[in-house]
C-alpha cells in the first residue's frame, strides 16, 4: 500500500487522505494485535469445579428494539428470577432518551426497584462461568466495537461450552447466540468486564466476596428497607460466619423488624467474630437495654466506650445515660 501511495502524483490531493487512512489503519491493527489478542484463560480450579457445558434454557428471551438492550436484558434476568415485569414497563425506568441507551448505575437501580438485589460480580471469565454453572443468568456489558467508536451493549450470558470455548448469550435480536471465548472476552474486556446477577433477597452469588456482598445488600436495604433485606443478611451471615459486619447488619435488620431477641443474638455473634467492632458493642448494649437486661447492657456499653475511634463519643454518652437511669 505504501508503494501505491508513492506512485500517485503528489499534486493529487485525494491520494493523501487515503494514504493517511491506510497508515492509521495498519497502526491500529498492530496496536490491537499487540494489545488484546490473547485468548482468555481459565483457572484450573474453575475448570475442575464447573460443569463442562451449561445452558440455562429457562431464561426467557426478548429481542431488543432500537437502543433498548438495557431494558430487554433486565427483563430476561428479572423474569427468570420470578419478577412479573416486561420490557415496556422497564423502558421508562432505565432508558435515558438523551443518551439513547441505559447507564450502568441505573441498570442496578432498576433491579432494586423490582425487589431483587443486583450483585456486580468479579470481572473474570472464571466468575462469569461459575455463576452460570450455579444457575444464575449474568447481565454483561460489552463494547462490540473499538474504544474509539464504542458500541455499548448489554446481553445476558446464559451458557457456555468449555470444550468448544464458546459462550451462549441472549443478545440483541438473537436468542442463544454463540460467541467464541476470544471475541466475547475482547468485547467484554472493554467494559472492564462489567457484569451483574439479579437475585432474590436470601440468594447469594456463587463467587461474591463478603465486602462486595455487604455493599450490594446495604445499597438494596437503603432503597427497599431493612425488612426486605432481612433474608439477604441471614444468608450472608450464614455464608460468612466469621464476618462481623454481616452479623452486625443482620442484627440491625432484625431490630428494625421488631425481633429484639434475634437482634441481640446477631450482635453477640458480631462481637464474637470481631471484639473490636465498636458499633456492634454499642448496638448490643442498646438492644439489651430495651430488653431490660441492664447489667449486661452496661457491660456491652463499657466495651463500646473503651474502643477508640469514630463511635467512642456516642458510646460514652449512651453509657452515661444508662448508668444514670
Amino acid at each position: 500500500m505504501i508503494d501505491c501511495l508513492e506512485r500517485q502524483p503528489t499534486s493529487d490531493r485525494n491520494a493523501r487522505p487515503a494514504g493517511v487512512l491506510a497508515l492509521v489503519l495498519m497502526l491500529l491493527m498492530l496496536l490491537m494485535l499487540a494489545g488484546c489478542a490473547s485468548a482468555p484463560r481459565l483457572d484450573d480450579t474453575t475448570r475442575a469445579a464447573v460443569a463442562p457445558r451449561v445452558l440455562l434454557d429457562d431464561v426467557p428471551f426478548h429481542g431488543q428494539r432500537d437502543y433498548q438492550c438495557g431494558p430487554a436484558s433486565l427483563a430476561m434476568a428479572l423474569q427468570h428470577d420470578g419478577v412479573e415485569t416486561d420490557v415496556d414497563s422497564l423502558i421508562p425506568q432505565v432508558f435515558t432518551p438523551g443518551r439513547e441507551g441505559s447507564v450502568q448505575p441505573e441498570m442496578l437501580a432498576t433491579v432494586r426497584r423490582q425487589g431483587r438485589i443486583p450483585f456486580v460480580i468479579e470481572g473474570r471469565l472464571d466468575a462469569l462461568l461459575t455463576e452460570i454453572d450455579a444457575g444464575h443468568p449474568v447481565v454483561v456489558m460489552q463494547n462490540l466495537s473499538l474504544p474509539a467508536w464504542p458500541v455499548w451493549h448489554y446481553a445476558v450470558a446464559i451458557g457456555y461450552d468449555l470444550e468448544a470455548r464458546e459462550m451462549i448469550l441472549h443478545s440483541g435480536m438473537e436468542a442463544q447466540r454463540v460467541e467464541s471465548f476470544r471475541p466475547f472476552d475482547a468485547t467484554w474486556a472493554r467494559s472492564d468486564r462489567w457484569a451483574f446477577v439479579a437475585l432474590s433477597p436470601g440468594e447469594l452469588p456463587a463467587t461474591i466476596s463478603p465486602q462486595a456482598a455487604l455493599q450490594a445488600i446495604g445499597d438494596f436495604e437503603g432503597v427497599r428497607g431493612a425488612e426486605a433485606a432481612l433474608p439477604a443478611w441471614e444468608a450472608l451471615s450464614s455464608r460468612f460466619p466469621d464476618h462481623a459486619m454481616a452479623h452486625f447488619a443482620l442484627g440491625n435488620a432484625r431490630h428494625t423488624a421488631a425481633d429484639l431477641e434475634g437482634a441481640i443474638s446477631a450482635f453477640r455473634d458480631a462481637v464474637a467474630a470481631d471484639a473490636s467492632l465498636a458499633p456492634a458493642w454499642l448496638n448490643l448494649g442498646l438492644a439489651l437495654e430495651s430488653a431490660e437486661h441492664r447489667a449486661e447492657a452496661l457491660e456491652a456499653l463499657e466495651r463500646a466506650a473503651a474502643l477508640p475511634g469514630r463511635w467512642q463519643e456516642r458510646s460514652r454518652e449512651a453509657l452515661e445515660r444508662v448508668r444514670k437511669e
Binding site: 489503519l25 438523551g98 448505575p105 437501580a109 458500541v151 471475541p183 436495604e221 452486625f248
Partner: protein
C-alpha cells in the same frame, strides 16, 4: 469595580453555602441511638462528612440531568431514589460521558472497513454476519 463587588460578595456566598449545608451534616441520630448498617459501612470506608453532603447534592444534580436527557419527570424521582450514594455521585459527575448500552452503529465508511477487519479477526463483534 468588579473586583470590589467580588471581594464583598465572596465571603457572603461562602457563609451562605456553609450554613446551607449544615443541616445535612448534622443529620439527626436514629431513634434509640443505634448505629445503622449504612453509617457503619460508610465509616468503614472512611467516608467523610463532606462526601456525604456531596452525595445529597449529587441526587439533585442527577434529577436535573435526567430531566434534561429526556426522562419523563414523573419517573425521575423514583429512578434517583433507587440509586446508592456512590452511584448517584458517579452519575452526577459524568452522566453525559458514561457508557450507555445501546448497540446501534452510526458508522462512517472508514470506521465500517476497520471494524469489518477487526470483526473478522475476532477483536470486535459489531456485525452479526462475522463469527
Amino acid at each position: 469595580m468588579m473586583k470590589k463587588i467580588c471581594r464583598f460578595l465572596s465571603p457572603l456566598l461562602i457563609a451562605a453555602l456553609v450554613l446551607g449545608s449544615l443541616p445535612v451534616a448534622a443529620a439527626p441520630a436514629p431513634a434509640g441511638g443505634m448505629i445503622t448498617t449504612q453509617d457503619a459501612l460508610s465509616a468503614e470506608r472512611a467516608q467523610s462528612d463532606r462526601e456525604r453532603i456531596h452525595a445529597v447534592l449529587a441526587r439533585d444534580d442527577v434529577r436535573d440531568q435526567l430531566v434534561a436527557q429526556g426522562v419523563d419527570p414523573a419517573e425521575v424521582e423514583a429512578r434517583v431514589a433507587a440509586l446508592s450514594d456512590a452511584e448517584a455521585a458517579q452519575m452526577a459527575e459524568r452522566l453525559d460521558q458514561m457508557p450507555a448500552g445501546a448497540s446501534v452503529v452510526g458508522a462512517l465508511f472508514a470506521v465500517f472497513v476497520i471494524l469489518l477487519v477487526t470483526d473478522i479477526l475476532g477483536l470486535t463483534n459489531v456485525f452479526p454476519f462475522t463469527r
